[in-house]
Amino acid sequence: MARLNLQSSSGKKFGGAEIVLALSIAVLVVIVAVPVFMILYNAFTVDGRLNIGDVVSIIREPDTYMALRNSLIIALGVTGLGTFLGVLFSYLVARTDLPLKSLMKLLFIVPFMLPSFIGAIAWKVLLSPRGGYINKMFMDLFNTTKPLFNIYSVAGIIVVETMYLFPFVFMQVSAALERMDPTLEESARISGVPLGTIMRKITFPLIMPSIVAGALLIALYSLAHFGVPAILGTEIGFYNIPTLIYRKIHSSGGSFASIRTGTVLATILIASAALILYLQKLVLKSGRYSIIAGKSMRPMLMKLRKSKMPILILCFIYIFITVILPTVTIMLVGSLKTYGLPFELKNMTLRNFQYIINWRMTRQAVSNSLFLSLGAAFVTMLAGTIISYVIVKMKVKGKFILEFLGVLPFSVPGTVIALGVILTWSGKFGINLYNTTWIIFVAYIARYMAFSIKSNSAALEQVHDSLEEAARSCGATHWQSMKDIVLPLIRPGMVAAFFLILLPALRELTTSVLLYGPRTRTIGVAIYALNEDGETVLACALATFALLIIVFGEIVIRRILSAKEGGPSGG
């Protein structure tokens, strides 16, 4: 009897479905929920007893209070500036007769692929108050001691972060503008309303939900952002929440007091992230009506007339400054004999790259990163597929727990995950992974599980239940129908999930920087540490390698994903 029950797919009270469900929940609980719980538990208790007074006194300490304030200031500045730029550029690309639009659209998303901490190093090289190349040039040229712009400042941090985060708004808003039914605007135009009024009264209210949703995403990422403030702020004693957590834990060698301060700060991050995601959900829900089909129709375009060329040139200047200049700077500095020399051919060498390739520390970092990102991407992809299958396809009670746990990591910033992983995997539950690669491995899985579930669920939702039922009625067992029908159909989603994890994991810094040990540096950590130690030239040489790997990876993904879409399985 029991054997027969195991074979059935739609069992209610028994059988294989429940076993798979239980296993999936167990994986998510161990990897995701326990670390988050450990943070909350340690933040609010002392010696196993609830202690709120302690939490308040930690928040009132001057440096924690300042970090909270700084995080907020940066988040507000980046969100404001990023939203402005995102809306401006998406409107230019979607609704004006700007030339070369498809190229521009691609170029505006490029900053998204580049690691922001490498960008921050480039800007440090260019605009640090005394040594920065541009500042030096400026001071020599005008014979002054005042730098053109000091990148070691709140404004500097905000500007650099904005460059890398504005695509959130850009992508959301250009998608909304493209999907918006142009007849909504046309009917206003036929009624004789001038273009400016149409924009104000019709277009903007309709894309407002997308703008707000994108802005909230920027806020979410900026609030918990480590790389840029770590490189540009630490120099002047400016800390936000993640960098303060890092400093506390590092300077104290992982003492309990510092971890406790960390957990309190992390709790604030979790709460604000949850709030932001909740707001975003509300906004997107209210904005559903605006996304009406009509994609085939051409929206009316605003004619730029005489300002067409100047605007195009401004766009290119923007892309030059945010993408090309920092990338080239990194590559040039990586080829300098000594940091600070002018960029002349006689000062250039390939020795740094040679050194990086032969140095044990960097070799180890590259191989660690490759192992971690490939391994975590593979494991997370597979686990995500199974979990999504349970969420989307199986009729079992209790799967809402999975849905909740699956999206939880979305609201948990990298710093928080690192902290939770330390608390969970440092021997407290009998397993001590501290200072091994595996602690970073479990942290990556926790951090990227949500990506995998999202991508796989989307793919599975496209596979209608009847496709599987048809296979069953043709004589295929549950596993055969999975293997022959479901897996081939969701393979593009699985491949997408793999790369969606692989690429960010390759350049990961925020989580690994709190978890690395002497032999477990990742590429990100190695670049960051070299930069901290003043080895700017070597940091840039390694960053050059990282950029090459990332660009190569992006090209490969695009090839694979577009080939998949064109194939017969896409129909």
């Binding site: 209610k12 009847s466 048809a470």
Partner: protein, 360 residues
Amino acid sequence: MAQIVLKNIWKSYGKKDVVKDFSMTINDGECFTFLGPSGCGKTVILRMIAGFERPDRGEIYIGDRLVASGEKHYSLPPEARDIGVVFQDYAVWPHKTVFQNVAYPLHIKKVHKEELKQRTNTAVAQVGLKNYEKRYPYQLSGGQQQRVALARALVPRPSVLLLDEPLNNLDANLREEMRFEIKVLQREYGVTVLYVTHDQDVALAISDRILVFDKNGSIRQVGKPEELYDNPKDSYIYKFMGVSNFVPADIRGGKAYLKGTKEVVCEDASFADGAMTMASRPSDVLLSRQDGVLAKVMRVAYLGNNFDYRLSLGDVEVRAQMDTHEALAQRLIFEPGEECRISFGKMKWFDAEQAKEEVL
């Protein structure tokens, strides 16, 4: 050999009982149709026979084999039931060619390569898709995809074929063509067919027997198509079988009067005095200028071979259909707003109270 027996089946979702104590026997080799409005539970029963759902209570047999029992918590998985299923949305696998789709059941059964090829090709040819073997589903029309699904369901020679609204997504012409083909294939394969639909035209065209559900999921009538059409048990069945007119009438002394008037709608109504409802089809409503009850023409539609009139008779609407040639010959063409007289040829009488729901 492959009859389907359903014994006292119960099924609920949450607190709602979708199937309540349902029992029925579908004979071997029969083409049996479940006809009913959406939400009556007919698809749920089909899915329980297929093994996609389990009955809460009751037993299902295919042939002599018990395939599901609610009481015993037993459900044979779909792949072991020797069935073929055709779905409303075709469910043709997009990543497999026509040949690969149709060959899949044989592939699963590990049929020898040569035989697999030959049987697949035969099945593909039978549904008229020869030379389409290498195409992918996205290169086929909806009708062609449904043919693939049909060939795929039949190729393993199942003892039972279950069709769940398979023609719904097709246009009217294709639907008509396909229903003949299903019938032809059913005879050829000698398979027991259960066909689920809400379309009485298809049901009348292909069924050996029809079971009509009402919207609560209760069985209203089971019978051959002509029985249901000619001898509907009640006004619900009558209405379900085609366009219907319902006229409320008062019976007085063997005559039927239009309700609340002295207009005679039937001279020969041998019922006890009281209220009754008279039903007739549009083609049985006779128009004239002199004889019958007075009615007013509301709308006229010329449909080629006939005129379709909507008339108001007292406070009910009556639809009438008149052959074009006859109308022209007898000069019986009316304009909207004109008055005319109507009488009823063939008619059925139903209990007025029970027919209330159908009379709108």
